[in-house]
């Protein structure tokens, strides 16, 4: 099973990596200065201390956990704590006064809520994540495009109106993106359930309870064994851009800045790329 799947999924992923990167290379310059300033602390330096609290979108769970560990290794007296959840929920928590040092959102809209409230300034985009169509390994609805088809298919070529489709609720970033691609594909009536986060969509695809689901590229990257994934042209219209910002009244501003810089550095970009994110 695993072997049969790995081929097509990887092929699709690589295909999309190439396509999507080309489509969105403009923001790369913004991040470069930040990366230069925020070089990790040198050896001999007393380093960073205390506790760092990072609020980050659920899709960043694996890669941020890894980056957090690296920062802790370089600064033995620092403890990094994460709160991973839907970006909207995190933004709401921040607005309600939740204590955080760094906020990393899965879209700019949720970061804008925090910015409008004066909680953060100057967010910087560090990654992009386009939508993919995830399909259970059995592909019960026959979503897979014919072998001989050349370029990236449109979403309407992949899914029929009567299949069972899971997407994120429009209230959360992945749902806002899903609504946009469905609208441009003329398929707004197809979804059967609006899930509260992208992981719930992925789970339902993995369980085979839906025929297909719209999830992030980074999600299928981590689940190549259990889902098939296909790129589609409309995905380029709604690529989620991930901004990160230091919270204004951060309890540990030095560590917060260091973490944001690590995310924006070449080291961070490599880790993000390894996790399936695209460079902005």
């Amino acid at each position: 099973m695993t072997r049969r799947l790995a081929g097509p999924v990887l092929a699709v992923l690589l295909f999309c990596l190439a396509g999507c990167t080309a489509a969105s290379g403009t923001d790369g310059a913004d991040a470069a200065p930040g990366a230069a300033e925020g070089a990790p602390a040198e050896a001999g330096d007393p380093g960073l201390t205390g506790t760092l609290t990072v609020f980050a979108a659920a899709s960043l769970t694996d890669v941020f956990t890894d980056l957090g560990q690296r920062l802790e290794e370089e600064n033995p007296q620092l403890t990094v704590r994460f709160s991973f959840a839907g970006s909207s929920a995190l933004a709401t928590q921040l607005l309600q006064g939740a204590p955080a040092d760094v906020f990393a959102s899965a879209d700019e809209a949720q970061m804008a809520r925090a910015e409008d409230a004066g909680l953060v300034t100057d967010p910087e985009v560090f990654a992009e994540n386009p939508l993919m169509l995830a399909v259970p390994p059995e592909d019960p609805a026959g979503v897979a495009p014919p072998e001989e088809s050349g370029g990236i298919p449109g979403l309407a070529e992949l899914i029929r109106e009567d299949l069972t489709l899971a997407v994120c609720a429009p209230e959360v970033p992945c749902g806002a993106a899903a609504a946009e691609v469905l609208e441009s594909a003329g398929l707004t009536d197809v979804p059967d359930t609006y899930e509260d986060d992208v992981r719930a969509v992925l789970t339902k695809v993995q369980l085979g309870e839906v025929d297909a689901g719209l999830v992030y590229l980074s999600d299928v990257h981590a689940a190549t064994d259990t889902v098939l994934a296909y790129a589609f042209t409309e995905a380029a219209r709604a690529v989620n851009r991930y901004p990160v910002a230091v919270v204004e009244d951060a309890a540990n501003p030095a560590a917060a800045r260091a973490f944001a810089d690590l995310v924006l550095s070449d080291e961070g970009r490599t880790a993000l790329a390894d996790a399936g994110f695209l460079e902005p």
């Binding site: 019960p140 069972t164 609720a169 209230e171 359930t193 609006y194 509260d196 369980l207 085979g208």
Partner: protein, 265 residues
Amino acid sequence: MSARREGAGVPVPLMVPAALGVVFLVLPVVGLLVSTPWAQLGPRLAEPGVGEALRLSVVSATLATAVSLVLGVPLAWVLARSRLRGRSVLRALVTVPLVLPPVVGGVALFLVLGRQGLVGQWLDAAFGLTIPFTTTAVVIAETFVAMPFLVISVEGALRAADARFEDAAATLGADRWTTFRRVTLPLVAPGIAAGAVLCWARALGEFGATITFAGNFPGTTQTMPLAVYLALQRDPDAAIVLSLVLLAVSLATLLLLRDRWLGRV
């Protein structure tokens, strides 16, 4: 007069925690009322999604209660009256949904009734029936979570009821089924009513199992709690209004039923 005298006699070590308990339970509701955007209340309530979610919530909670009554009352009787072996094990199994996180309950329902599930697979193959993402799934999820409340309270009522009335009925020529219908059931009617209200309230507030097993689709599976949760992600004011509606409906229902059914308890 006598009630006042007893009230004055409550010992301080009981009075203080009791008062704190009341404050703890009532204060969040007060907070909800205080932060309600009253000026926007009218237009917000008129939004089409609100009525839809409310109607779906009330209908599905009522259906779940009906299913729980049909299955739960006989189950409670078996637990309270029969001499079946392994009854204590049975009781423990029946109350599992009480301690199970509802989200886990939703996943468990998938494993049985989902398209790939043990029973669901067969339903799909034989009848082309799929349950997830339908209103039926909402009712099933709510029933799964809420029925134990009914079973527990009806079983308690049955245990408290004097079984000798059933003996008396037997000496009057009533077989066990007749006795159940004409004596046992009316005797525990207040207990059943209380259990049904509890069950209904639990079903109305159900969130985890519903969003997991039934998904979230306006008009079909998006009940009030789901609408509240999602609204909270983007528009807390809308969430407060929705919560207020849910609160008003459940309070009104409880008061109404208390006067009609539970007043005699």
